[in-house]
Assembly symmetry: C2
Homo-oligomer: 94 residues x 2
């Protein structure tokens, strides 16, 4: 199950912030790193995990590597959460 990887990826506040920064527009690794008080290497490590989890896609352009959101992976998570019974209403037991 790749779900575990997804949940783990999303569990870190730095990685969630990266994803949030990617919501409106893609960003290069450098731009992303600039938003944090962490070394570029550390941010690169987080980026690698996000990519491995399928949460972002990359495009290479010139020397730059652009990262963009891949929302499709969120749906698995959504499904898991829904299955737990979190559909906003009050559903009865059967």
């Amino acid at each position: 199950m790749a779900l575990n990887q997804t949940f783990k990826a999303i569990a870190d506040p730095v990685r969630r912030q990266i994803l949030e920064g990617l919501k409106s527009h893609r960003q290069s690794a450098g731009e992303i790193a600039a938003a944090f008080q962490l070394s570029q290497a550390t941010v690169s490590y987080h980026l690698k995990l996000l990519k491995a989890a399928g949460l972002v896609n990359t495009t290479k352009e010139k020397n730059f590597v652009y990262y963009e959101l891949n929302t499709s992976v969120f749906e698995e998570m959504l499904t898991w959460i829904y299955r737990m019974g979190a559909m906003g209403g009050s559903q009865d037991e059967d």
Copy 2:
């Protein structure tokens, strides 16, 4: 933000399994622990994190402590994910 705690709680496979076991009916700490090959102390630790995250509620009865799901906390997560753009369709940029 308590969201961080929630995401962290959900990130561990043992804890997710505990929640899944609680989907249909409440369980005592002992019953929960019996489903894992972990010491009772370890399971108790996971239970504590789930409780701290608000994902479960407890009721004391006799010597037993019963755990049950609290689905309301899931909604915050749901909201976060939705905000990331994961609403199943293809929403355009503004």
